[in-house]
Symmetry: C2
Subunit: 204 residues, 2 copies
DNA sequence: GCCATAAGATACGGCGCGTTTCCTGTCTTC
DNA sequence: GAAGACAGGAAACGCGCCGTATCTTATGGC
Protein backbone atom coordinates (compact mmCIF):
# COMPACT_ATOMS: atom_id res chain seq x y z
CA UNK A 1 0.00 0.00 0.00
CA UNK A 2 2.99 2.34 -0.13
CA UNK A 3 2.57 5.31 -2.35
CA UNK A 4 5.32 6.17 -4.79
CA UNK A 5 6.89 9.44 -3.75
CA UNK A 6 7.37 12.29 -6.14
CA UNK A 7 11.13 12.39 -5.74
CA UNK A 8 10.70 15.83 -4.15
CA UNK A 9 13.23 18.01 -5.88
CA UNK A 10 12.56 21.60 -5.04
CA UNK A 11 15.95 22.93 -5.97
CA UNK A 12 16.23 25.05 -2.86
CA UNK A 13 18.78 23.97 -0.26
CA UNK A 14 17.35 22.56 2.92
CA UNK A 15 17.38 24.91 5.92
CA UNK A 16 17.82 23.71 9.49
CA UNK A 17 17.98 24.85 13.08
CA UNK A 18 17.92 28.55 13.78
CA UNK A 19 17.85 29.60 10.18
CA UNK A 20 14.73 27.57 9.57
CA UNK A 21 13.19 28.79 12.78
CA UNK A 22 13.74 32.41 11.83
CA UNK A 23 12.16 31.80 8.46
CA UNK A 24 9.12 30.29 10.14
CA UNK A 25 8.67 33.10 12.61
CA UNK A 26 9.07 35.63 9.83
CA UNK A 27 6.34 33.78 7.99
CA UNK A 28 4.11 33.95 11.05
CA UNK A 29 4.59 37.67 11.26
CA UNK A 30 3.81 38.06 7.57
CA UNK A 31 0.70 35.94 7.84
CA UNK A 32 -0.44 37.97 10.83
CA UNK A 33 0.10 41.15 8.88
CA UNK A 34 -1.77 39.85 5.88
CA UNK A 35 -4.62 37.82 7.33
CA UNK A 36 -4.83 38.70 11.00
CA UNK A 37 -4.76 36.17 13.78
CA UNK A 38 -8.09 34.46 13.29
CA UNK A 39 -7.26 33.53 9.74
CA UNK A 40 -3.69 32.56 10.38
CA UNK A 41 -3.49 28.85 9.67
CA UNK A 42 -0.72 26.38 10.23
CA UNK A 43 -0.90 25.41 6.59
CA UNK A 44 -0.58 29.03 5.63
CA UNK A 45 2.50 29.54 7.75
CA UNK A 46 4.09 26.35 6.52
CA UNK A 47 3.46 27.26 2.92
CA UNK A 48 4.80 30.77 3.28
CA UNK A 49 7.90 29.54 5.07
CA UNK A 50 8.27 26.91 2.34
CA UNK A 51 8.27 24.09 4.83
CA UNK A 52 5.63 21.74 6.19
CA UNK A 53 3.37 21.41 9.17
CA UNK A 54 5.27 18.67 11.00
CA UNK A 55 8.24 21.02 11.13
CA UNK A 56 6.07 23.54 12.93
CA UNK A 57 4.68 21.01 15.33
CA UNK A 58 8.13 19.71 16.18
CA UNK A 59 8.89 23.12 17.63
CA UNK A 60 5.62 24.44 19.00
CA UNK A 61 2.70 22.46 20.35
CA UNK A 62 -0.01 24.55 18.74
CA UNK A 63 -0.97 27.71 16.97
CA UNK A 64 -1.00 30.09 19.92
CA UNK A 65 2.44 29.10 21.07
CA UNK A 66 3.78 29.58 17.60
CA UNK A 67 2.46 33.11 17.54
CA UNK A 68 3.73 33.71 21.05
CA UNK A 69 7.18 32.85 19.78
CA UNK A 70 6.84 35.10 16.76
CA UNK A 71 5.59 38.11 18.68
CA UNK A 72 7.97 37.58 21.56
CA UNK A 73 10.97 38.23 19.38
CA UNK A 74 10.68 41.99 19.30
CA UNK A 75 10.30 42.36 23.05
CA UNK A 76 11.67 45.74 24.01
CA UNK A 77 14.06 46.11 26.89
CA UNK A 78 12.28 47.28 30.01
CA UNK A 79 15.34 47.22 32.20
CA UNK A 80 16.03 50.88 31.66
CA UNK A 81 12.71 52.66 31.94
CA UNK A 82 12.42 56.35 31.06
CA UNK A 83 13.66 58.75 33.72
CA UNK A 84 12.78 62.31 32.83
CA UNK A 85 12.21 63.52 36.34
CA UNK A 86 8.48 63.83 35.74
CA UNK A 87 6.20 60.99 36.71
CA UNK A 88 3.54 61.59 34.11
CA UNK A 89 6.02 61.81 31.30
CA UNK A 90 7.80 58.65 32.38
CA UNK A 91 4.54 56.75 32.53
CA UNK A 92 3.29 58.07 29.23
CA UNK A 93 6.51 57.18 27.46
CA UNK A 94 6.63 53.69 28.86
CA UNK A 95 2.99 52.94 28.16
CA UNK A 96 3.32 54.37 24.70
CA UNK A 97 6.22 52.11 23.84
CA UNK A 98 4.20 49.17 25.13
CA UNK A 99 1.08 49.99 23.18
CA UNK A 100 2.83 50.65 19.93
CA UNK A 101 5.04 47.59 19.85
CA UNK A 102 2.90 45.99 17.21
CA UNK A 103 1.82 48.96 15.19
CA UNK A 104 2.90 47.39 11.94
CA UNK A 105 0.43 44.58 12.46
CA UNK A 106 -3.30 45.04 11.91
CA UNK A 107 -4.94 45.87 15.18
CA UNK A 108 -7.32 42.94 15.16
CA UNK A 109 -4.40 40.57 14.72
CA UNK A 110 -2.94 41.51 18.07
CA UNK A 111 -6.35 41.62 19.65
CA UNK A 112 -7.33 38.20 18.41
CA UNK A 113 -4.05 36.82 19.60
CA UNK A 114 -4.41 38.25 23.08
CA UNK A 115 -7.94 36.94 23.32
CA UNK A 116 -6.78 33.49 22.35
CA UNK A 117 -3.96 33.72 24.83
CA UNK A 118 -6.54 34.19 27.56
CA UNK A 119 -8.02 30.81 26.80
CA UNK A 120 -5.07 28.74 27.92
CA UNK A 121 -4.52 28.82 31.69
CA UNK A 122 -0.86 27.99 31.38
CA UNK A 123 -0.25 30.71 28.83
CA UNK A 124 -2.08 33.21 30.99
CA UNK A 125 0.35 32.46 33.78
CA UNK A 126 3.35 32.71 31.48
CA UNK A 127 2.05 35.96 30.10
CA UNK A 128 1.43 37.36 33.54
CA UNK A 129 4.88 36.35 34.71
CA UNK A 130 6.38 37.98 31.66
CA UNK A 131 4.89 41.26 32.78
CA UNK A 132 6.69 41.28 36.09
CA UNK A 133 10.06 39.57 35.60
CA UNK A 134 12.07 42.38 33.98
CA UNK A 135 8.83 43.28 32.25
CA UNK A 136 6.67 46.38 32.05
CA UNK A 137 5.33 46.07 35.58
CA UNK A 138 8.88 46.07 36.89
CA UNK A 139 9.50 49.17 34.84
CA UNK A 140 6.39 50.82 36.22
CA UNK A 141 7.58 49.98 39.71
CA UNK A 142 10.92 51.61 39.06
CA UNK A 143 9.27 54.73 37.68
CA UNK A 144 6.86 55.02 40.57
CA UNK A 145 9.45 54.38 43.24
CA UNK A 146 11.68 57.04 41.77
CA UNK A 147 8.75 59.44 41.91
CA UNK A 148 8.24 58.49 45.52
CA UNK A 149 11.84 59.34 46.29
CA UNK A 150 11.28 62.74 44.71
CA UNK A 151 8.29 63.23 46.96
CA UNK A 152 5.85 63.25 44.08
CA UNK A 153 4.16 60.07 45.22
CA UNK A 154 3.00 58.64 48.51
CA UNK A 155 5.13 55.49 48.84
CA UNK A 156 2.48 53.79 50.97
CA UNK A 157 0.30 53.64 47.89
CA UNK A 158 2.72 51.49 45.92
CA UNK A 159 1.22 48.06 46.39
CA UNK A 160 1.59 45.42 43.66
CA UNK A 161 -1.94 46.04 42.51
CA UNK A 162 -1.30 49.73 42.12
CA UNK A 163 1.96 49.12 40.32
CA UNK A 164 0.21 47.14 37.65
CA UNK A 165 -2.86 49.37 37.58
CA UNK A 166 -2.02 51.28 34.41
CA UNK A 167 -1.29 48.08 32.59
CA UNK A 168 -4.43 46.38 33.81
CA UNK A 169 -6.60 49.26 32.70
CA UNK A 170 -5.04 49.57 29.29
CA UNK A 171 -5.21 45.85 28.69
CA UNK A 172 -8.87 45.91 29.55
CA UNK A 173 -9.43 48.88 27.29
CA UNK A 174 -7.70 47.00 24.49
CA UNK A 175 -9.69 43.85 25.03
CA UNK A 176 -13.00 45.62 25.28
CA UNK A 177 -12.36 48.20 22.60
CA UNK A 178 -10.74 45.93 20.04
CA UNK A 179 -8.08 48.43 19.14
CA UNK A 180 -5.00 49.85 20.77
CA UNK A 181 -6.06 52.50 23.28
CA UNK A 182 -5.71 55.98 21.85
CA UNK A 183 -3.53 58.65 23.39
CA UNK A 184 -6.67 60.14 24.83
CA UNK A 185 -7.52 56.95 26.65
CA UNK A 186 -3.99 56.78 28.01
CA UNK A 187 -4.32 60.37 29.14
CA UNK A 188 -7.61 59.65 30.88
CA UNK A 189 -6.19 56.65 32.66
CA UNK A 190 -3.24 58.70 33.83
CA UNK A 191 -5.00 61.96 34.68
CA UNK A 192 -8.24 60.65 36.10
CA UNK A 193 -7.03 57.56 37.88
CA UNK A 194 -3.37 56.75 38.23
CA UNK A 195 -1.94 60.15 39.01
CA UNK A 196 -4.70 61.36 41.34
CA UNK A 197 -4.34 58.11 43.23
CA UNK A 198 -0.58 58.36 43.57
CA UNK A 199 -0.03 62.03 44.27
CA UNK A 200 0.60 62.89 47.84
CA UNK A 201 -2.29 64.90 49.26
CA UNK A 202 -1.47 68.59 49.07
CA UNK A 203 -2.75 69.48 52.48
CA UNK A 204 0.01 67.94 54.65
CA UNK B 1 -31.93 10.40 -5.16
CA UNK B 2 -34.37 10.97 -2.33
CA UNK B 3 -33.70 8.96 0.73
CA UNK B 4 -36.60 7.17 2.37
CA UNK B 5 -37.29 8.83 5.71
CA UNK B 6 -37.63 6.90 8.90
CA UNK B 7 -41.21 8.01 9.55
CA UNK B 8 -39.85 9.82 12.65
CA UNK B 9 -42.13 8.79 15.43
CA UNK B 10 -40.70 9.88 18.71
CA UNK B 11 -43.85 9.68 20.76
CA UNK B 12 -43.20 12.94 22.56
CA UNK B 13 -45.44 15.86 21.71
CA UNK B 14 -43.87 18.58 19.67
CA UNK B 15 -43.02 21.79 21.51
CA UNK B 16 -43.10 25.23 19.93
CA UNK B 17 -42.45 28.89 20.56
CA UNK B 18 -41.54 30.00 24.05
CA UNK B 19 -41.82 26.58 25.59
CA UNK B 20 -39.32 25.19 23.14
CA UNK B 21 -37.08 28.17 23.58
CA UNK B 22 -37.03 27.76 27.32
CA UNK B 23 -36.17 24.10 26.96
CA UNK B 24 -33.28 25.00 24.69
CA UNK B 25 -31.87 27.64 26.98
CA UNK B 26 -32.19 25.28 29.91
CA UNK B 27 -30.24 22.75 27.90
CA UNK B 28 -27.56 25.33 27.20
CA UNK B 29 -27.24 26.01 30.90
CA UNK B 30 -27.00 22.34 31.66
CA UNK B 31 -24.38 21.77 29.00
CA UNK B 32 -22.40 24.70 30.33
CA UNK B 33 -22.58 23.23 33.80
CA UNK B 34 -21.54 19.81 32.63
CA UNK B 35 -18.96 20.45 29.92
CA UNK B 36 -17.98 24.10 30.23
CA UNK B 37 -18.08 26.55 27.37
CA UNK B 38 -15.31 25.25 25.18
CA UNK B 39 -16.90 21.84 24.93
CA UNK B 40 -20.43 23.04 24.53
CA UNK B 41 -21.49 22.00 21.04
CA UNK B 42 -24.57 22.80 19.06
CA UNK B 43 -25.23 19.11 18.62
CA UNK B 44 -24.94 18.62 22.34
CA UNK B 45 -27.45 21.34 23.10
CA UNK B 46 -29.84 20.09 20.46
CA UNK B 47 -29.63 16.54 21.76
CA UNK B 48 -30.15 17.55 25.36
CA UNK B 49 -33.11 19.72 24.48
CA UNK B 50 -34.43 16.84 22.38
CA UNK B 51 -34.58 18.96 19.28
CA UNK B 52 -32.29 19.52 16.31
CA UNK B 53 -29.71 21.99 15.16
CA UNK B 54 -31.81 23.79 12.57
CA UNK B 55 -34.15 24.75 15.38
CA UNK B 56 -31.25 26.39 17.16
CA UNK B 57 -30.02 28.18 14.09
CA UNK B 58 -33.48 29.52 13.33
CA UNK B 59 -33.28 31.46 16.59
CA UNK B 60 -29.63 32.34 17.09
CA UNK B 61 -27.00 32.91 14.43
CA UNK B 62 -24.23 31.05 16.20
CA UNK B 63 -22.93 29.46 19.35
CA UNK B 64 -21.93 32.59 21.25
CA UNK B 65 -25.25 34.28 20.73
CA UNK B 66 -27.03 31.19 21.94
CA UNK B 67 -25.05 31.27 25.15
CA UNK B 68 -25.57 35.00 25.45
CA UNK B 69 -29.28 34.33 25.42
CA UNK B 70 -29.00 31.55 27.99
CA UNK B 71 -26.86 33.53 30.41
CA UNK B 72 -28.79 36.73 29.88
CA UNK B 73 -31.91 35.23 31.39
CA UNK B 74 -30.86 35.53 35.00
CA UNK B 75 -29.79 39.15 34.73
CA UNK B 76 -30.28 40.72 38.13
CA UNK B 77 -32.05 44.04 38.48
CA UNK B 78 -29.57 46.86 38.86
CA UNK B 79 -32.15 49.59 39.01
CA UNK B 80 -32.19 49.59 42.77
CA UNK B 81 -28.59 49.40 43.89
CA UNK B 82 -27.71 48.88 47.54
CA UNK B 83 -28.00 51.97 49.72
CA UNK B 84 -26.61 51.33 53.18
CA UNK B 85 -25.20 54.75 53.76
CA UNK B 86 -21.65 53.50 53.50
CA UNK B 87 -19.85 53.69 50.19
CA UNK B 88 -17.59 50.73 50.70
CA UNK B 89 -20.43 48.47 51.74
CA UNK B 90 -22.58 49.52 48.82
CA UNK B 91 -19.79 48.84 46.37
CA UNK B 92 -18.88 45.51 47.93
CA UNK B 93 -22.47 44.31 47.87
CA UNK B 94 -23.04 45.33 44.28
CA UNK B 95 -19.79 43.87 43.02
CA UNK B 96 -20.41 40.70 44.96
CA UNK B 97 -23.81 40.18 43.38
CA UNK B 98 -22.22 40.73 40.01
CA UNK B 99 -19.39 38.33 40.53
CA UNK B 100 -21.50 35.55 41.95
CA UNK B 101 -24.25 35.59 39.34
CA UNK B 102 -22.94 32.41 37.81
CA UNK B 103 -21.66 30.55 40.80
CA UNK B 104 -23.57 27.41 39.91
CA UNK B 105 -21.65 27.15 36.68
CA UNK B 106 -18.05 25.96 36.56
CA UNK B 107 -15.76 28.93 36.61
CA UNK B 108 -14.05 28.11 33.33
CA UNK B 109 -17.42 28.00 31.61
CA UNK B 110 -18.06 31.65 32.30
CA UNK B 111 -14.48 32.54 31.57
CA UNK B 112 -14.44 30.76 28.24
CA UNK B 113 -17.67 32.43 27.30
CA UNK B 114 -16.44 35.90 28.14
CA UNK B 115 -13.26 35.31 26.21
CA UNK B 116 -15.23 34.23 23.20
CA UNK B 117 -17.47 37.23 23.56
CA UNK B 118 -14.42 39.43 23.19
CA UNK B 119 -13.76 38.04 19.75
CA UNK B 120 -16.84 39.47 18.08
CA UNK B 121 -16.69 43.26 17.72
CA UNK B 122 -20.45 43.57 17.59
CA UNK B 123 -20.93 41.50 20.70
CA UNK B 124 -18.31 43.52 22.50
CA UNK B 125 -20.32 46.63 21.80
CA UNK B 126 -23.56 45.01 22.89
CA UNK B 127 -21.90 43.76 26.04
CA UNK B 128 -20.45 47.15 26.78
CA UNK B 129 -23.77 48.84 26.24
CA UNK B 130 -25.43 46.35 28.54
CA UNK B 131 -23.13 47.49 31.30
CA UNK B 132 -24.30 51.07 31.17
CA UNK B 133 -27.98 51.06 30.17
CA UNK B 134 -29.65 50.14 33.45
CA UNK B 135 -26.64 47.94 34.03
CA UNK B 136 -23.97 47.67 36.69
CA UNK B 137 -22.14 50.81 35.67
CA UNK B 138 -25.33 52.77 36.10
CA UNK B 139 -25.67 51.23 39.52
CA UNK B 140 -22.11 52.15 40.38
CA UNK B 141 -22.82 55.69 39.27
CA UNK B 142 -25.83 55.88 41.54
CA UNK B 143 -23.86 54.58 44.49
CA UNK B 144 -20.99 56.95 43.94
CA UNK B 145 -23.15 59.98 43.38
CA UNK B 146 -25.03 59.27 46.57
CA UNK B 147 -21.70 59.08 48.39
CA UNK B 148 -20.78 62.41 46.85
CA UNK B 149 -23.97 63.94 48.19
CA UNK B 150 -23.03 62.68 51.63
CA UNK B 151 -19.65 64.36 51.27
CA UNK B 152 -17.79 61.05 51.26
CA UNK B 153 -16.59 61.50 47.72
CA UNK B 154 -15.20 64.32 45.65
CA UNK B 155 -17.83 64.72 42.91
CA UNK B 156 -15.24 66.10 40.51
CA UNK B 157 -13.68 62.68 40.44
CA UNK B 158 -16.76 60.98 39.03
CA UNK B 159 -15.91 60.78 35.35
CA UNK B 160 -17.23 57.92 33.23
CA UNK B 161 -13.92 56.16 33.39
CA UNK B 162 -13.88 56.30 37.14
CA UNK B 163 -17.46 55.11 37.38
CA UNK B 164 -16.62 51.96 35.52
CA UNK B 165 -13.24 51.55 37.18
CA UNK B 166 -14.20 48.81 39.64
CA UNK B 167 -15.85 46.83 36.91
CA UNK B 168 -12.94 47.25 34.54
CA UNK B 169 -10.48 46.04 37.13
CA UNK B 170 -12.51 43.06 38.18
CA UNK B 171 -13.18 42.03 34.62
CA UNK B 172 -9.49 42.18 33.92
CA UNK B 173 -8.77 40.17 37.04
CA UNK B 174 -11.28 37.59 35.91
CA UNK B 175 -9.89 37.38 32.41
CA UNK B 176 -6.30 37.17 33.55
CA UNK B 177 -6.88 34.96 36.54
CA UNK B 178 -9.33 32.54 34.99
CA UNK B 179 -11.57 32.45 38.00
CA UNK B 180 -13.96 34.79 39.68
CA UNK B 181 -11.97 37.31 41.72
CA UNK B 182 -11.85 36.38 45.38
CA UNK B 183 -13.18 38.58 48.12
CA UNK B 184 -9.62 39.53 48.83
CA UNK B 185 -9.11 40.79 45.33
CA UNK B 186 -12.31 42.79 45.58
CA UNK B 187 -11.09 44.23 48.86
CA UNK B 188 -7.75 45.21 47.35
CA UNK B 189 -9.42 46.89 44.42
CA UNK B 190 -11.66 48.83 46.74
CA UNK B 191 -9.20 49.66 49.50
CA UNK B 192 -6.07 50.26 47.48
CA UNK B 193 -7.53 51.89 44.42
CA UNK B 194 -11.17 52.87 44.19
CA UNK B 195 -11.76 54.27 47.65
CA UNK B 196 -8.45 56.13 48.02
CA UNK B 197 -9.12 57.69 44.63
CA UNK B 198 -12.64 58.78 45.47
CA UNK B 199 -12.32 59.96 49.05
CA UNK B 200 -12.16 63.66 49.46
CA UNK B 201 -8.73 64.71 50.65
CA UNK B 202 -8.75 65.23 54.39
CA UNK B 203 -6.84 68.49 54.26
CA UNK B 204 -9.57 70.76 52.77
C1' DG C 1 -60.67 20.02 7.50
C1' DC C 2 -57.09 23.07 4.99
C1' DC C 3 -53.02 25.22 5.02
C1' DA C 4 -49.17 28.00 6.45
C1' DT C 5 -45.67 27.47 9.62
C1' DA C 6 -42.27 25.66 12.25
C1' DA C 7 -40.37 21.26 14.45
C1' DG C 8 -37.61 17.49 13.74
C1' DA C 9 -34.42 14.05 11.52
C1' DT C 10 -30.64 13.43 8.71
C1' DA C 11 -27.06 14.21 5.85
C1' DC C 12 -23.61 17.09 3.91
C1' DG C 13 -19.79 20.39 2.80
C1' DG C 14 -16.14 22.77 4.66
C1' DC C 15 -12.33 24.05 7.31
C1' DG C 16 -8.42 23.68 9.97
C1' DC C 17 -6.17 21.36 13.58
C1' DG C 18 -2.87 18.06 14.90
C1' DT C 19 -0.88 13.45 13.36
C1' DT C 20 1.00 9.80 10.72
C1' DT C 21 3.83 7.90 7.27
C1' DC C 22 7.33 7.74 4.49
C1' DC C 23 11.20 9.61 1.79
C1' DT C 24 15.40 12.31 1.41
C1' DG C 25 18.91 15.77 2.21
C1' DT C 26 22.60 17.10 5.41
C1' DC C 27 25.70 16.91 9.28
C1' DT C 28 28.47 13.97 12.28
C1' DT C 29 31.57 10.43 13.29
C1' DC C 30 34.85 7.26 12.68
C1' DG D 1 34.90 9.39 2.48
C1' DA D 2 31.37 5.89 3.70
C1' DA D 3 27.79 4.80 7.33
C1' DG D 4 24.34 6.18 10.03
C1' DA D 5 21.80 9.37 12.89
C1' DC D 6 19.02 13.23 12.54
C1' DA D 7 15.87 16.48 11.00
C1' DG D 8 13.46 18.54 6.89
C1' DG D 9 9.89 17.92 3.70
C1' DA D 10 5.62 16.19 1.12
C1' DA D 11 1.27 14.19 1.26
C1' DA D 12 -2.58 12.39 3.12
C1' DC D 13 -5.66 11.30 6.89
C1' DG D 14 -8.94 11.35 10.90
C1' DC D 15 -11.49 14.08 13.56
C1' DG D 16 -14.54 17.45 15.53
C1' DC D 17 -17.70 20.68 14.94
C1' DC D 18 -19.66 24.44 12.65
C1' DG D 19 -23.36 26.06 9.85
C1' DT D 20 -26.66 24.66 5.99
C1' DA D 21 -29.72 22.18 2.97
C1' DT D 22 -33.35 18.95 2.28
C1' DC D 23 -37.27 16.78 3.23
C1' DT D 24 -41.03 14.92 6.22
C1' DT D 25 -44.52 15.67 9.61
C1' DA D 26 -46.87 17.59 13.58
C1' DT D 27 -49.59 21.54 15.11
C1' DG D 28 -52.21 25.67 15.58
C1' DG D 29 -55.02 29.19 13.12
C1' DC D 30 -58.68 29.99 10.28
Amino acid sequence: MRKPVASGRTGAPRRRGDELERAILDAVWAELAEHGYDRLTMDGVAARARTSKPVLYRRWPNRVELVVAALGRNAPDFREPPDTGDLRTDLAVLLGSLLHRFDDLPTDAVHGFLVDLMRDPELRVVFHRGLTADGPVDALATIMHRAAERGEVDPARLTPRVLSLPLDLLRDAFLMGGSVPSDQVVAEVLDEIVLPLLRVPAGG
